[in-house]
Symmetry: C3
Subunit: 292 residues, 3 copies
């Protein structure tokens, strides 16, 4: 594997291998790779979770991490992403983790640089390590994807991550249902009401409400969204004892999810963040092995 | 010791132990701790001195330091400090050094996170490692606190650091006098004129004039402040040969202190900065030992 | 060598020694220096190339690099560069790489700090490691400077780097010609037309057009500059097969140089960036040896 820019790059077998490797890292902790590899995290959008998670994963593998401050780089002088990447390639970087606001920013890069690119999120596009940590968290919980009922709640049309998650989950044997306001489902099949999904689901995966992406009149107040589509205390009380709550974070307390549920026994929200480190170690290792 | 958020957390014995340990570090230099610890410095306000001092102390102890850019984190998307800290805990950080503009920001954190919190300054509140480095510098100079005459000059009412310094110094046996404009002393006992304090004091500790914190009409021009309350060349000429000048920096040259005095033979201003590294090594070591 | 702030600090012999050492580093890669040295890169202006290149060189030498965020330091509270440097000296930094908008910022520092200063660019002034990487790239190509025909094209009057490059090249035996609009040549002798310089030159060194530095009426549209002074495809077609194209980057595609030429066989633009790492390793090593 030279790059990882989209879940579509990965076969089912590759996904399972990465999850197994991540499981091993979770048990074993630090795992210094042989060789001297240098990496930089190019985040052109603010991030705490993804950036810090990569920083941690990189250090647990013993990589040399060069700091890149997007807000203080030559991008400010109008330098293109392509020229920045070619520059970093010349300086000797092996791997670049990139988050960038443009959808598919990586298309113009992947055949033109000797650096490996890991997509840390592009616009409303792909975010493969987020997908992998979601998958890891489900597999860790249930041991399998076969027959697992996954309910994805929220803004499907603006979340390609949700869709690529759904796609991977379906490929791996899970049953996925989208729940969202009718006007947010776009071309996708969805249900528009909770009905008995609280009772039926093994996984309730909540998406962040990104009001900034909605046109006027389309968006909901936090309270009304919570009441109609959020995971309320009442809905949570009807969940199976074994079911889990997921959210990619950052979350809007009291909107997608009742405040009290964020750290409750069924929530895996902070466990997802924890698992992100191991999944990213697995991806980095696979990429670096691919460079030898 | 799990956290260090305030000088009130520390007994006299603990203070002395930390100062002794810092003295040892000053003699010995680098001191790699066994084990793999990760730490991050969360500075939500600009800082050179405190942040760089922690960065240096952490490296001298062999800790793994993960960079956190407050100005480019999810705090910008409105994420609360609590959620940021829980995220970093999940990612696996052991210790967080936090500077934050809110007084007592740590209250909501210390019983709810497995990370150790070191307060690197909160609002106009506590700044325990600054206090410790002040104490260290005095003890290094005089060998004792017993009977040392300390004059603290400046904005007492807005400086809880000054007050917690004074409190610790008094507990340790020193005699502390506050000198400031009457309208800045608040409920605290103070003198409002230099009288013969230049001659009498062993330590003259100057505070930074923070004009931004004063109401209209209360503040002084730099020149008039210097004349009435600053350490002028004339006042310095009356100091004991063995007395020392201290200032937490950054200083306003020609306001709190005459320009020519900043690097003179009695000044310990840059020595304080140097000592900060050793004191922070001692605090970090004590915290990490407490985690085992 | 304690500091490196200007090419004028270096004799011809010292230049050749640094280039030889850089060549060795290029062949050998990583080269950990004995001892524990700490360094920080103080960039008060945005930079990708120079900053990342120093970061890489420092890590290849095994130095401990402390992060400094100029945009989030006490400089924001008005702290002077002098006070910042004295603070970092007290904290224990050995070497500071500084880029600062003020011409000659280093003059007030070099005799007053025990830190070694490496000038990473000052205003429109010196940028010695850029000069050295240019020299290295020429020497690597031709094995010598003796008799090499170098054409420097662009804004000579605003580029002291170009002039100090020209000065060093001349000292080392090369023949240098400036080509620029008459109104940009200032007191310097220049030609104002390409004539047969495309055919005659061994090295065509293009400078960045910095429109922001020109007065009204003096500047050219990108297109008209390209046509009259840029390296067009037509001019490139007349170059000797063995001649090389250089540019310090970031470049304006289609202004100083035709887009298609940036990565062509004669271009050494990305090689210059690559070579920057080895040259900086050589400078850092020489500075650190000078501290023992």
């Amino acid at each position: 594997m030279k790059h990882l820019v989209s879940m579509k790059d990965l076969s089912e077998l590759q996904i399972i291998e990465l999850l197994d490797r991540a499981e091993r890292f979770k048990k074993e902790g630090i795992h210094e790779l042989p060789g001297n590899y240098t990496i930089s995290n190019l985040f052109f959008e603010p991030s705490t979770r993804t950036k810090m998670s990569f920083e941690m994963a990189e250090r647990k593998l013993g990589l040399e991490v060069l700091p890149f401050e997007a807000g203080f780089s030559s991008a400010l002088k109008g330098e293109s992403l392509y020229d920045t990447v070619k520059t970093l390639e010349s300086i000797g970087l092996d791997v670049l983790v990139i988050r960038h606001p443009d959808d598919g920013y990586y298309e113009e890069l992947i055949n033109k640089t000797s650096c490996s690119i890991i997509n840390g999120g592009d616009g409303s596009g792909q975010h493969p390590t987020q997908s992998l940590l979601d998958l890891f968290t489900i597999k860790e919980e249930f041991g399998t994807f076969e027959g697992i009922e996954v309910l994805i709640v929220g803004d499907i049309v603006h979340s390609r991550v949700a869709r690529s998650n759904a796609d991977a989950l379906t490929r791996l044997g899970a049953n996925v249902t989208f729940l969202c306001p009718a006007e947010w489902s776009g071309e996708f099949e969805s249900v528009n009401d909770w009905e008995d999904y609280a009772e039926k689901s093994d996984v309730i995966m909540l998406l962040r409400v990104q009001n900034e992406r909605h046109k006027d009149g389309e968006s909901y107040s936090g309270e009304s969204y919570h009441e109609r589509y959020g995971l309320t205390l009442e809905r949570a009380s009807r969940m199976k004892e074994t079911a889990i709550i997921m959210h990619p974070a950052p979350f809007n307390r009291g909107v997608e999810i009742a405040d009290e549920l964020i750290e409750n026994a069924n929530s895996r929200i902070f466990m997802q963040i924890k698992n992100g480190v191991y999944v990213r170690m697995a991806v980095l290792e696979a990429i670096l092995k691919g460079r030898n």
